[in-house]
Symmetry: C2
Subunit: 117 residues, 2 copies
């Protein structure tokens, strides 16, 4: 049995790179929290900062830029006074659903396994 099937047309290297990309994109320290909260609806910068306890503005900015560059969220400037900015998930973000489901299932199982040891 193989974890990665390298017999297809695409090279094995290409596939391992795809893994790393996906893990990097979804795997940061805060990405899950941000995406999760945004999946409940649009939020502003300040909302996110208050909801995600412990994150600094610099890091939040970086994570949001990262997600935006990868088309998982959209950033909208509201020309209010003072200016506010809204973040929300793109339809594309929901294509990560399968990944999250699989990670959730394995992670939950694994935590039980490790704890009961």
């Amino acid at each position: 049995m193989k974890l990665v099937d390298c017999s297809g047309k695409e090279s094995c290297k290409e596939k391992t790179l795809a893994f790393r990309d996906a893990i990097e994109l979804l795997g940061g320290k805060w990405k899950v929290f941000i995406l999760q909260h945004l999946s409940f609806g649009t939020m502003r910068f300040k909302d996110l900062q208050e909801t995600i306890v412990g994150i600094s503005p610099k890091v939040l900015t970086k994570e949001l830029q990262d997600l935006e560059q990868n088309h998982l969220i959209t950033r909208t400037v509201n020309h209010t006074k003072p200016i506010t900015v809204s973040y929300s998930l793109t339809p594309y973000a929901y294509e990560t659903q399968a990944v999250y489901n699989a990670l959730l299932e394995f992670g939950t199982k694994h935590r039980r396994k490790i704890k009961n040891k």
Copy 2:
């Protein structure tokens, strides 16, 4: 729609922690390569070091210990002369299959999307 369903008996926090655990466990820089190569069969330390180009012995040791502590691989000392050590996947390691499949699918799709931009 929600990326994480927090309506069940288990708390939302517990679930996000499960994500992070899973991602940390599978997401290192070399983990995919190691698990992938081991999925083709048992390998010795030296084999891994030669196959996984660019990894230093220190890092390889650390990654292997990490995987062993999480029951994804087994470490077997062969009392040859000189001593050799074999590494192989545990049956449990194959429970990560769904995660890898999902990551592979999303990662491949994502690379195409980013590249065609």
